[in-house]
């Protein structure tokens, strides 16, 4: 199944259930551990894998076309602004990559109503922060043709 859970690590916290866009990570009522209830509706999007505080979730490529003995594991570190991947090939080759994910702290976006409202522009073609944010010297591109 695309995602699978190591029951000896999972503590049933439900973070994966909260995030899964497909609503397929559920908690088994008896075991109190997470599992993928519908592997054929899993996009292998890794949202749950990245969200699991225990690192209990892993991926096994779709049985339809992925031979066994491979792994793609991830560590997302929002506070450090990066994500790291490790690819393990069937033949043993290993590759590692790290990429930036954000240049500002999470939570730092300024809400739109913290900017002054240009009420007179409500009927014009300009959107919020325009024309400044277009960064073009003239307004010609947004004004009436």
């Amino acid at each position: 199944m695309p995602t699978f859970v190591d029951v000896s690590i999972c503590d049933g916290c439900g973070k994966c259930v909260e995030i899964c866009p497909s609503d397929i990570m559920h908690i088994d009522r008896k075991m109190r551990r997470a599992f993928n209830i519908e592997p054929d509706y899993c996009w292998e999007c890794y949202s749950c894998v990245k969200a699991c505080p225990q690192h209990a979730i892993d991926m096994r490529g779709y049985a339809d076309f992925c031979p066994l003995d491979h792994a793609l594991t991830v560590l997302r570190e929002p506070e450090k602004g990066r994500v790291s991947w490790k690819v393990k090939y069937r033949n043993g080759t290993v590759k590692s990559f790290t990429f930036p994910i954000r240049t500002t702290p999470f939570g730092s976006i300024k809400p739109p109503d913290s900017f002054p409202l240009k009420e007179q522009e409500l009927r014009s073609q300009l959107l919020s922060h325009e024309p400044e944010y277009l960064k073009v010297p003239s307004q010609k591109e947004v004004s009436a043709r």
């Binding site: 490529g61 031979p67 033949n91 930036p100 994910i101 409202l117």
Partner: protein, 614 residues
């Protein structure tokens, strides 16, 4: 106690209701708050806005950016490109409107913290292709969602919207929507003065290439379930270009996108004999499809067409030669990041099949068809255009308002405007939201009037699948075979089979004709009747049941449009075998449809394509 009466009803009032918190919905929330400071702006999302929609796993490029500030492109250039890629048929007013605003959206994203890659030599954003820029986009959706969270009055996650509500006094005026909580089963009634639908595109309309565990690995997200189209169709909104389904060429099975490989890394595609084939058929193609084949770049659908011709000639597999271009560590990283940021499955395919892109080429394939409004295709709602651009037939009120008063759309929801992608969808959400604010201010006395009887009957209908299960389950001991009901997934599989076999799916090399389409419609009509007999054991299946409803309505529109357009306009997306040529004399038009909910009848029509840009 019946299932429905055990579910509590919750009422939510709003000025603006945004249905779907993906790229377009987040853009709408942000802009609505900018202009509507005191308004109650509510977002309702069937998943969790933090990672919902097509961008859940991230993206490695922004595919729509003009670069106005560096004089890289003009909005006019973008209209010309989009028009030729779509074989002449786009709403130029809508496309232009996206182009003139999209840069300000991208600059906002950068300010918020989305890492955009710069070209050290030029000091500009690094280009992947003429319209695309490269990003480190793992957190694209969480960043954009944060902006929406700071803008909306309230965000309701895990509520699946099932129906729109029109006003009790005026069936052509929107008044809200209903849905249910996938977590606690509460029934929700949202009242609104304006509604923006931004519920994404549709997959699993057609049979996917993988039918086992890998069925979830469609290129577009499996949770894109056609709600945007079904919600609108059922209240009588006019739809356009629903026949313009999208087929994409992607890395085989993993569906890794090809953009970075073809455009930035300059990889080539060759047949199994090592020959480049893309322009091999251009003379035949010109005879059938006219001068569109001379467009530069070669239109997306024609690139598929060349590949399909090559495959039919027995020259497959088709390979993309990644090994010829990964000569530096920088390029190798770029290639890997492309997939690790937006299609990890492709990396898993490589790892599991021992394909090192540095040494081994990868197979390409064409996908199953998808219904979308934001990519190299433009299915969706027929919308009013911007005041200063739209000609009269394209304008009846507020920008991005559908033919239902007060009902707006953005992103995959809106038809006629291709190549919006992530940034353009967010931009269109902004455009729609600004217009919705103006609409509300212009109608200060309006209060949504909802017919309570209708709401009660919708509540019955929404929970019926659980009722069906309760009633029917004792007829069988265990298992999934019941004479009284079908499960949602059984319905999806029936739908996919009908669409694949009769309406131009991959199983038939995207070929169809009038007889096949009519037969498909007949079988689809029976599936539609069976929808009242779908069963759901729990709330998760109830969500799947309503997703199936939405997919079936979307599919019906696709078939009806495909039947109506008697030509082959987009070879490589689908072929009408009975009308194999592109026919500009008769079909240089939009095909529009309208379902009349009172009469339960579909009406088809054509609307001229106005060329605004020379």
């Amino acid at each position: 106690m019946s299932v429905r009466s055990s579910k509590s009803t919750k009422y939510v009032d709003s000025d603006i209701l945004i249905i779907g918190g993906g790229m377009a919905g987040c853009g709408a929330a942000y802009e609505a708050r900018y202009w509507g400071r005191k308004m109650r702006i509510v977002v309702v999302e069937k998943a969790n806005i933090e990672r919902s929609g097509a961008v859940a796993m991230g993206l490695s490029a922004i595919n729509c950016y003009m670069g106005l500030r560096w004089n890289e492109n003009t909005p006019e250039d973008f209209v010309r490109y989009t028009r030729s890629d779509l074989m002449g048929l786009v709403r130029e007013d809508l496309v232009y409107d996206i182009a003139r605003h999209v840069d300000s959206t991208v600059h906002l994203f950068e300010e918020w913290g989305l890492p955009i890659i710069y070209d050290e030599k030029t000091g500009h954003y690094k280009r992947e292709g003429r319209w695309q820029i490269l990003i480190h986009g793992e957190s694209y959706k969480p960043i954009v969602a944060e902006a929406a969270q700071k803008s909306a009055s309230e965000i309701y996650n895990r509520i699946m919207v099932t129906h729109l509500l029109t006003d009790a006094r005026n069936p052509n005026r929107i008044a809200g929507a209903v849905g249910f909580s996938v977590r606690d089963g509460s029934f929700y009634v949202f009242k609104a003065k304006a509604v923006i639908v931004s519920a994404g595109g549709a997959t699993h309309i057609y049979r996917p290439k993988s039918v086992g565990e890998g069925a979830g690995r469609t290129w577009y997200a499996p949770w894109s379930t056609g709600s945007a189209y079904a919600l609108l169709i059922q209240v009588g909104a006019t739809m356009t270009q629903m026949e313009n389904r999208l087929v994409v060429t992607r890395f085989k099975d993993g569906y890794g996108p090809v953009g970075a490989w073809f455009l930035a890394l300059k990889a080539t595609a060759k047949n199994a004999y090592g020959e480049e084939y893309e322009k091999k058929y251009v003379d035949e193609q010109r005879m059938l499809y006219g001068n569109y084949v001379d467009a530069k770049p070669f239109p997306t659908c024609l690139r598929n067409d060349s590949m399909l011709r090559e495959l039919k000639a027995g020259k497959g597999p088709i390979y993309i030669h990644t090994e010829a271009v990964l000569d530096t560590r920088e390029k190798e990283e770029l290639g890997w990041e492309d997939f690790l940021d937006m299609t990890m499955s492709q990396s898993i395919v490589w790892a599991s099949q021992n394909i090192d892109p540095k040494t081994t080429p990868s197979e390409l394939q064409t996908s199953e068809p998808y219904i979308m409004g934001s990519h190299a295709t433009c299915s969706g709602a027929w919308a009013s255009g911007p005041d200063d651009m739209a000609t009269d037939i394209y304008k009846w009120g507020y920008n991005r308002m559908t033919t239902i008063e007060g009902l707006f759309g953005a992103g995959d929801t809106i038809g006629g405007s291709a190549h919006k992608f992530s940034s353009g969808s967010f931009t269109e959400g902004r455009i729609a939201a600004k217009a919705a604010v103006a609409y509300i201010l212009d109608h200060p006395d309006y209060h949504p009037d909802i017919d309570t009887k209708m709401v009660e009957s919708l509540k019955d209908e929404i929970f019926r699948p659980m009722e069906n299960y309760n009633v029917g389950k004792n007829k069988i001991v265990a298992g999934t075979v019941s004479p009284l009901y079908i499960y949602p997934n059984q319905g999806v599989i029936r739908l996919e089979k009908i669409m694949d076999e009769y309406a131009g799916g991959w199983g038939n090399m995207y070929m169809t004709n009038e007889f096949m389409l009519n037969r498909g419609l007949e079988l689809l009509t029976m599936l539609k009747e069976d929808l009242s007999k779908v069963a759901a054991e729990d709330l998760h299946q109830l969500q799947r049941a309503w997703e199936l409803h939405h997919r079936v309505w979307t599919a019906e529109a696709v078939i009806r449009h495909t039947l109506y357009r008697k030509e082959t306009r987009w070879p490589g997306y689908y072929y009408r075998a009975d009308y194999p040529k592109l026919d500009d004399t008769n079909w240089h038009v939009f095909v529009n449809s309208r379902y009349d909910p009172a009469m339960k009848t579909w009406y088809m029509s054509t609307v001229p394509v106005m060329h605004i840009i020379g």
